[in-house]
Subunit: 312 residues, 2 copies
Amino acid sequence: MVTFTNLLQVVQHCDKYPYTVTNDGARLLLEDNVCVGTILPPVLNELVAYNQTLDPCPFVICDTAVHFNEHITTMDERTKTVETLMNHWRTQQTFSALAGWRNELYAVYGKDGQPAFVMERAATPLFGISTFGVHVNGFVLDQGEIKMWVARRSLSKPTWPGVLDNCVAGGIPYGYSTKETVVKECDEEANIPESLAQHAKNVSVVSYYTTSQYGLQPETEFVFDLELPLDYQPTPKDGEVECFYLWTLDQVKESVLRGDWKPNCALVVVDFMMRHAYITADNEPDYIDISYHLHRRLEFPCPKIALAIKSL
Amino acid sequence: MVTFTNLLQVVQHCDKYPYTVTNDGARLLLEDNVCVGTILPPVLNELVAYNQTLDPCPFVICDTAVHFNEHITTMDERTKTVETLMNHWRTQQTFSALAGWRNELYAVYGKDGQPAFVMERAATPLFGISTFGVHVNGFVLDQGEIKMWVARRSLSKPTWPGVLDNCVAGGIPYGYSTKETVVKECDEEANIPESLAQHAKNVSVVSYYTTSQYGLQPETEFVFDLELPLDYQPTPKDGEVECFYLWTLDQVKESVLRGDWKPNCALVVVDFMMRHAYITADNEPDYIDISYHLHRRLEFPCPKIALAIKSL
C-alpha cells in the first residue's frame, strides 16, 4: 500500500492522468467526431491486428483516431461490434482487464449525452471510456458530531480486496436514475431498506481521470449523503463487503492518509469532509488544489440522466 | 439584463473565458517563470509605451511574456513598481478599470503560494490577476425547508448597482484567515454579530474565469454556509446593501434565471443549491457541466491560507 503525508497526495494518487498530454494514443470517435475514449498504443496495436482479419473491417484506424467503419451506423451495430471484439480478446486472454469480466453493461455516451452504444464494464479501460457511478456516504450525527459508516471490501473481490470503501457504491445501469441506483445498491451491498435509502441526497459530483494496470479510467461519481439513525447498522448482504465500521472523521482522515482506501473512494471521503467543513481553507494548505482534483473536467460527453428518466 | 433558459447558461455567463486559447496576450511571469497573470494586447501596448519612458525599464517585455526587470527583486520593489504604473495610468485615465479605484490591496501569489507583491484591487483585471474572496450563504431552516437570505446591492455601488448578491461577500485582506474575513464582512455588510458569524462553515470553493469591460478576472471564492436563527434578520450597515430578502429556493432559482444576480454570486447560489440537493443529477440535465463551471482549474498559484495564518 501507498501511504501519504498530506491530502493533496491522496487525491493526486487517484486523479493521476496528466493534465497536458501530447501523445496519448488514438481518440475513439463517433460519426460526428465526438470523442468518447482514448486507445493507448498497446491496445491500438492489437486493434489493428484484429481489424485486418475481418472484411469489411469494423474500424477505420489511423495513428491518432479510431472510427467505426461506415457500415456500422446504429447503436445496436456499435454495441455488437465492440462486444465481438472484446469477446475475442477475452478468449485469447489478450488483456488482463478482461479477466475481471462482470457481465455488466455500461452505456457509452455520445452527442448530446445520448447513449451511442453499450459495452462490458470490465472492457471500458481498454478504450478509456468515461464511466459513471454513485457513491453514498452513510453517516450519523452523534450529539452533533459526524461519524461515518466505512465499508471494508470483501477479501474475495477481484479488485481492491480488503481495502476501505464508501458505505455503498455502484455503477449506474442504463436507464436507471441515480436515486434508483442508490436504492438498489443500498439494498444489495449494505442491507439498507428503501425506506432509509430514499433519504439519500445527491449533494455533489466528483470527477477524476485515473489509470490502472487495465488502462485509462476517466470516472464521474454522483455523491450522495445518507444520514442514518443512530441505532441503525448497515450489514453486508451480497458478499461485496466484509464489514462496516462507524468512525469519527479523525479516524477516517487517518485511514485515508495511511492509504487504506480504494483511491477513488478516498476522493469521495475528502469531498465529504470539505462539504461538512472538517477540511477548510483555514486548516488545509492545499484546499484549492484538492478541490480541483475532485472536480476534474473530463473532455467526454456526459449523460443527461434527468432527461433520460423523464422520457421513460 | 441577460435572461437565461437554463442553469448551464447562467454559469457559462460567468465562467466565460475560453477553455482553450491560442493567443491571449502576454503572460506575466515572476523570476522563476511562475505565471501570475495575463496581459491582453490593449494593456500590453500601453505597458510597452510606459516602459520606454523609464531608464532602467521596470519590465522586460516580449510578445508572449512580461517579466519584472532584474533590478526589481523583492516583494516591496514589485509592489512599488506596479503601484507607480497603475497610479500613472489612473492619472492619465488610460483604463476605465482604474476609475473604480478602491484603495484596497490584493496579494498576488507566486511560487508555493507565497505573496509576490500586492496591488490595488481595481487594477487586477488589467493584469488578469487571480483573486480570492469569501461568499456567505445566509439561510434559515423553516420547518425543514431552506430559505435563503438574498442581498440587493446598493444602487450607489460603482459595480453592479441594484442587482442581487449573496448575503455577505468580500475580498480577503492580506494576512486574514477566511473565517476572519467572513466575520468582518458579516459585520460591515449585514450587521451580523460575531457570535452568529462564527458559526459560518467553509463548505466549498467556487472558481471561474470571467471577463468584463475591465479585463480578465480569474477568481476563486471560498464559500461559507451560515444558518441563521429564524427570528433573526440581517440589515444593511455600510451602505453596500440596499435591502435583504428571505426567499425559498424556488424564488431564488427563478431570480437566477431572470438574470437578476451578479454573475459570480449566481454561481455561489447554484453551488449552494447543488450541495443542498435542490439541484440534482436526476432533475438537472446539465448537472455535470454545471459542476465543471463551478470548479474551473485556474493555472495560477493559489494562496496557502492555512500556512499563512499558522505562521502569524
